[in-house]
């Protein structure tokens, strides 16, 4: 137990906004990312995918927003994310998280995933300062 937030607490699962072509285009414009794998369907298909890929940083950004919205989170101290599976545009991802440990200085470690069912595309670990 750490403060008011017990270890093991689950964050409310959030169905992330579907990253369709419009959202991906919006993210690319906002981030400046010009990787053609996120822009050029022909290149993505040549690389073996059905369509363009969703930028991993869009998913990580959404996961960070889920964490920010968690009532027990006063601030994110750090967030480390691995992009373990490519995501093709249009995928419906769900973000889930759980408080797994406390840090020596009063922070909480939260494990986060984003994916379709148990097929994760992003796995992260964050340290938050609890409220």
């Amino acid at each position: 137990m750490t403060g008011a937030i017990p270890i093991g607490t689950r964050l409310p699962a959030v169905d992330l906004p579907v990253a369709g072509h419009a959202l991906v285009a919006s993210y690319l414009a906002a981030s400046g990312d010009d990787n053609p794998l996120h822009r050029e369907p022909a290149l993505a298909r040549a690389a073996g995918f059905d369509d363009i890929l969703v930028p991993g940083m869009l998913v990580m950004g959404q996961m960070a927003e889920v964490l920010c919205a968690f009532p027990g989170c006063a601030a994110i101290v750090s967030f480390h994310c691995r992009f373990v599976e490519p995501v093709v545009v249009g995928a419906a991802l769900r973000c889930e998280g759980r408080v797994v440990a406390a840090t020596a200085d009063g922070g909480l470690i939260v494990r986060l995933t984003a994916g379709v069912g148990r097929r994760y595309c992003a796995i992260g670990e964050a340290v938050i300062r609890p409220t």
Partner: protein
């Protein structure tokens, strides 16, 4: 806490900003629709947009792929770490110190970015890991 190990190759320092319109556009793009406590806060991952700035990207690519020679090299993002020591504010300038390691034999590159405030105080750091892929060959560059 600086992210950059001594062994990394220094790339340079750049002035970057949290232009309000740019932050708002980024925030809209990553929004999940779930309200957050501080709507004015800079999204945690916003600094990644600095690495896409043409001059910064060119400096990174020149450091890690000096012999690319016009090849169409794609960085495939595989891992990202963001650490914040102090909150960033909108419409401020910051200093971004960049360094890089790699590519290793798997084509893996690590870019280290330390974010400093106007007085040189530590604000945060990024560690970005990507694999360089030759778009024309379909394999690690």
């Amino acid at each position: 806490m600086r992210a950059t190990p001594d062994r990394a190759q220094r790339i340079g320092s750049f002035t970057v900003s949290t232009d309000g319109d740019s932050v708002s556009a980024f925030q809209t793009a990553v929004s999940t629709g779930v309200p957050t406590a501080d709507a004015q806060a800079i999204p945690l991952t916003y600094p990644i947009s600095w690495l896409a700035r043409p001059d910064i990207r060119a400096a990174v690519m020149a450091a890690v792929m000096p012999d690319a020679d016009g090849a169409r090299i794609l960085p495939v993002h595989v891992e990202q770490q963001v650490t914040m020591e102090a909150p960033m504010r909108r419409d401020r300038n910051y200093r971004l110190d960049l360094a890089a390691e790699g590519p290793d034999i798997r084509g893996m590159v690590r870019v280290y970015a330390d974010v400093m405030g106007s007085q040189g105080q530590a604000i945060g750091s990024l560690v970005t890991v990507f694999v360089l892929v030759d778009a024309d060959q379909g394999s690690a560059a």
